[in-house]
């Protein structure tokens, strides 16, 4: 699905050497925060992926914990970022506290 026409027969990839799989990297910046997607990288296995993630994404103490996940193992919600998939939440305003009218004089609600 690439847009660059590459004469595959000229590349070493065509000699049967497979590219290392892609891993997605998630970093917890500090205690109390959740892991956040930082980027991705290639590595042959999880142990190397973790080491590479440390060197690529946390050279300045950006994290206290790293997760690496094989990109192929991620199931995504939809082909794009806006989709009918999220529509069920759109008409359920009663899930937010602001939906409710609180009578005068009620404390701690």
């Amino acid at each position: 699905m690439t847009s660059q026409p590459t004469p595959a027969e000229q590349t070493p990839a065509a000699t049967g050497r497979a590219q290392w799989p892609l891993w997605e990297v998630f970093v917890r910046a500090r205690r109390g925060l959740s892991h956040t997607h930082a980027g991705s990288l290639h590595a042959p296995d999880a142990v190397v992926a973790l080491r590479n993630a440390r060197d690529v994404y946390t050279r300045r103490q950006e994290g206290v914990s790293i997760w690496v996940v094989p990109a192929a193992a991620i199931t995504a919600s939809s082909p794009d970022e806006k989709d009918a998939f999220f529509e069920p939440a759109a008409d359920k305003v009663y899930r937010h506290p602001t939906f409710y009218v609180v009578p005068e004089g009620v404390a701690h609600l």
Binding site: S3, T11, Q19, R59, R60, D80, E81
Partner: protein
């Protein structure tokens, strides 16, 4: 904002750099704010409705929101971005060579540690950018191949040699300085992964520029010979750095579409002017001169007048005829080939471990049955 603020040189370490860093932070803030807004139009789009997809894409761009990897996008947007991001990544990777040349000969352990960290950052920048290009559907192997076969370019600045230690200072101050001026607006680029990579990169770049400035500042206050060395390096790197902004607007290709898609935000000449203004002021703090006899403050324009770089030379170097083109590419190709056994060993080890795990599971199942 650039160069027009003339504070006491002694109190100003490096003006411009902090203003640029503020811009990175404001780009990051805007990214979050724009994300919080909902896109105005483009409501119901059924799959396959091409016009509706285009409308939605346009609306996202108009709202200053980000296009994300799995969104629909025009083919030319995808293709242009892959090319731009890949060439940017190649530049970071090739850019390690001129400075890498001085790591073993840095004048002190401190300078060596700093230079190592800087060059390692450039490797990191290349990797963030390759990863961003891959989200558009190209593969890493393919991009590496395009670089080492010379079918895709990298910034022509890295085809100039680093003759002595002062060149490391001049690269940090001028080359990283020009890179920052070029890259800060890219923090607002409409493609999400590229914009996020650029925010990360720009934050790291300001250390690069400062360490270069500090090397020159130190040399300029050293012996007469050291001072001369610093001036010589600035003399050689000034015009190639100005050329980093590309050809003048009058003959710059595919700029307009790039502006409309909010990939590019300022013209080559605007960015070059911004850089000249920044450097003119900083050079006076360094006590070094910029090798341009025409450089003078223009009250009317509120900017520095300067002499344009030799664009014929720029195109010669881009076409492959710079002082180090062949050496840079040969070195990268060699490094890639020399690393093949590491890639193979990594794959073989991973396959062996996977086979062992599978074997162990099978034995356990047999035992359990």
């Amino acid at each position: 904002m650039y160069g027009s603020d003339f504070e006491d040189p002694e109190t100003v370490g490096q003006p411009g750099a902090s203003a640029l860093l503020d811009e990175v932070e404001s780009a990051e803030r805007d990214l979050h704010e724009a994300a919080a807004r909902t896109v105005a139009t483009g409501g119901s789009t059924g799959p396959g409705a091409d016009a509706a997809l285009q409308d939605y894409f346009d609306a996202v761009i108009a709202a200053d929101q980000k296009i994300e990897p799995r969104d629909w996008m025009p083919g030319a947007y995808r293709k242009g971005l892959i090319r731009q991001i890949a060439q940017h990544a190649h530049s970071e990777i090739i850019g390690m060579q001129p400075e890498g040349n001085w790591i073993t000969r840095a004048p002190s352990l401190k300078r060596k540690a700093i230079l190592l960290a800087k060059v390692q950052d450039e490797a990191g920048h290349g990797l963030y950018l390759y990863a961003a290009a891959e989200t558009l559907g190209s593969s890493r192997d393919e991009l590496v191949e395009l670089l080492i076969t010379g079918r895709q370019k990298y910034s022509s600045i890295f085809n100039y040699p680093t003759l002595n230690w002062a060149d490391v200072g001049a690269i940090g101050w001028l080359v990283d300085g020009a890179a920052i001026v070029n890259q800060v607006p890219l923090c607002r680029c409409s493609y999400g992964p590229y914009a996020r990579a650029m925010i990360r990169i720009c934050k790291e770049e300001s250390f690069h520029q400062r360490q270069g400035f500090e090397i020159l500042y130190t040399l300029a206050r050293g012996t007469a010979a050291q001072r001369q060395m610093a001036q010589d390096a600035v003399d050689r790197w000034w015009y190639p750095s100005l050329a980093m902004f590309g050809p003048p607007d009058s003959d710059s290709t595919h700029s307009e579409q790039s502006m409309a898609w909010k990939i590019k935000r300022f013209s080559n000449d605007d960015l070059r002017q911004r850089f000249v203004d920044m450097c003119a002021q900083q050079a006076s703090v360094l006590g070094l001169s910029i090798p341009d006899p025409d450089l003078r403050w223009n009250e009317e324009r509120g900017a520095w007048d300067y002499r344009q770089p030799d664009y014929a030379e720029l195109f010669r170097v881009i076409k492959g005829d710079g002082p180090c083109n062949r050496q840079r590419l040969r070195h990268r190709r060699q490094a890639h080939e020399d690393g093949a056994w590491v890639r193979d060993a990594g794959s073989a080890y991973a396959a062996k471990q996977a086979a062992r795990r599978a074997g162990k599971r099978a034995t356990e199942q047999v035992a359990a049955a």
